[in-house]
Amino acid sequence: MTTTGTVDLRAYLGHVELPNPVLTASGCAGMGRELAQFADLTRLGAFATRSITMAPRAGRPTPRMAETPSGLLNSVGLQGPGIEAFLEEELPWLAGHGVRTIVSIGGGSVAEFAALARRLADATGVTAIEVNLSCPNIEDRGRLFARDGSSAAEVVAAVRGATRYDVPVIAKLAPDVADVVAVARSCVDGGADALSMINTPQGMAIDVDAMRPALAAGSGGLSGPAVRPLAVRCVWQVHAALPGVPIIGMGGVLTGRDALELILAGACAVAVGTALFHDPNACPRILRELEDLLHERGFDRLADAVGLAHRPVLRNDLKESSL
């Protein structure tokens, strides 16, 4: 099941086996059809949908994007046709084409998240559910679930409860919290089978000609290589604290080296977001590059590289790495 053969690239999210660790990041790969023009979606480790909401959503006003150094600010605001249209049109298309699909869900309350999960429970073609915790909790004055361990845990528990036992529930975390490990631990205690990180930290740009925020919404989520150091740090910290929990690493992955960086920090799979805007062929390229890098370093199995940068430092290694 590997691409070119020499390295066993299988990745595991709880009970689910993926043929390789390169996924798309939620909200960055359209409905699938757009990306399918460039890359074979069945060759992805998995395809993640944008976050599906209960009702149709028109999203935020434009401008919705601003380029920043090595990064991108966006304020799409979860535009989408709602879960009914998703179940009628989009999911069947993905399932029909044999695409392993991680359905991301976004809600404004614990109840809404639970309702979304229930609605998905008897749908065919759901490989895993990802809970987008970077949604404002309307019952807590809009505080993001991701910023509050206990409400994040509540959401995860509700989704876990409504979801078939063989479908993993993945909690998606944000980096702009005081203690990402604490939030991760709460989510795992709440029943998360895996974690994904990072969602976009909140950023902002000012258009110095208009002398206004560059985004109509004011602030937006920062993505791309600019945030990769934050992603690596989050993955590292959470893997150190919870070594048994599968982590999907994301944030600024453009190349196989970037993917390997997250894997060595502790991610067992890697998702590609903003890079797809830059290079619609990014996923297969990154997978190829990653396989080559693993092969060059003598790995037979991807799994052996996961978290390897955590191994204790020997005096000898110090010398080696200082060359």
């Binding site: 023009q37 434009t62 994007m65 991108l72 799409v76 709602g82 404004g108 987008n132 062929n281």
Partner: protein, 287 residues
């Protein structure tokens, strides 16, 4: 309908100044093969290790059969990406994705077409004119810009069009004013059946208003800020009324850039109209 775009690394054949603009020709047979008038391409700027990640979109000006197929686009220097592009030289390579977007729809039968372009927006009209003429249509041009050096393609328009009307805001070439100011007259004189337009948003709005007034269709090619150009990111949306009468926030890159002018809610671009599908109710925002 949609052609499948490709990503290619093309070699720059020429780059030259044309008045206020740069025209860049790149060898890209697979893009040239698939091209239809109204398509655009996107390019990656900044080279390897670039800090400018989003691709830049440019309307295709011309495709030629040389070297298996070349693509030319015309651009103005705005920020980091276009500055980098302007510094390319022959034999450099360029990462190109295209052709992208919904091209100009063509009339089934020969008819009278007015092609309206403003600034570099004129660039995408000439390939269209060639195809329309091939179908026996009559072509008239209205081209405008802020000043004479920013009017693109006046000579070529004069060669192809039955008539060509030029406007500049400073009066340095043709009539003083904007293209929409003279459009009603041109439509009346030529008894036009359809208007095709490409240019800034305000110009498209004004052109559409004239076309509606005179009760002929306008096909307009919009320019919205795009992070991907391929339909993935949902940043390039604008409110467009569907066949069912419902307003949706649709992607300029995938459903457009060419739309029926009267379907685009120009007044509401930059907002979510309250009656759009999925518009927020009350104050609760999310994500």
């Amino acid at each position: 309908m949609a052609v499948t775009p490709v990503q290619v690394t093309g070699t720059v054949l020429t780059i030259r100044r044309v008045d206020a603009y740069h025209a860049l020709t790149v060898v890209a047979p697979a893009v040239a093969d698939r091209f239809r008038p109204g398509h655009f391409v996107t390019v990656s700027t900044g080279g390897p290790a670039t800090a400018t990640l989003t691709r830049r979109a440019f309307a295709v000006h011309d495709v030629k059969p040389d070297y298996g197929g070349t693509v030319e686009f015309v651009f103005t220097v705005r920020g980091a990406g276009t500055s980098w592009l302007a510094a390319r030289r022959a034999r450099d390579t360029l990462d190109l994705v295209g052709p992208l977007g919904r091209p100009f729809p063509l009339p089934r039968d020969p008819c009278r077409c007015v092609l309206v372009g403003s600034e570099y927006g004129s660039a995408s009209l000439f390939a269209l004119a060639d195809v329309l003429q091939g179908r026996g249509c009559r072509i008239d041009f209205v081209l405008g810009a802020a000043s004479a050096d920013r009017v693109f393609g006046a000579l070529r328009a004069r060669r192809i069009g039955e008539t060509t009307t030029l406007t500049t805001e400073d009066g340095s070439l043709g009539m003083r004013g904007q293209v929409a100011d003279v459009l009603a007259g041109v439509i009346a004189d030529t008894r036009a059946d359809v208007v095709y337009a490409c240019g800034p948003r305000d110009m498209l709005r004004a052109v559409t208003a004239v076309a509606i007034e005179l009760d002929i269709p306008a096909q307009v090619s919009v320019e919205e800020a795009m992070a991907c150009g391929t339909g993935l990111c949902m940043t390039c949306v604008l409110p467009v009324i569907g066949d069912d009468g419902v307003t949706r926030m649709v992607r300029a890159c995938a459903e457009g850039p060419v739309f029926r002018g009267e379907r685009v809610r120009f007044e509401d671009v930059g907002t979510i109209p309250f009656d759009a599908l999925g518009a927020p109710r009350g104050l609760g925002g999310m994500g």
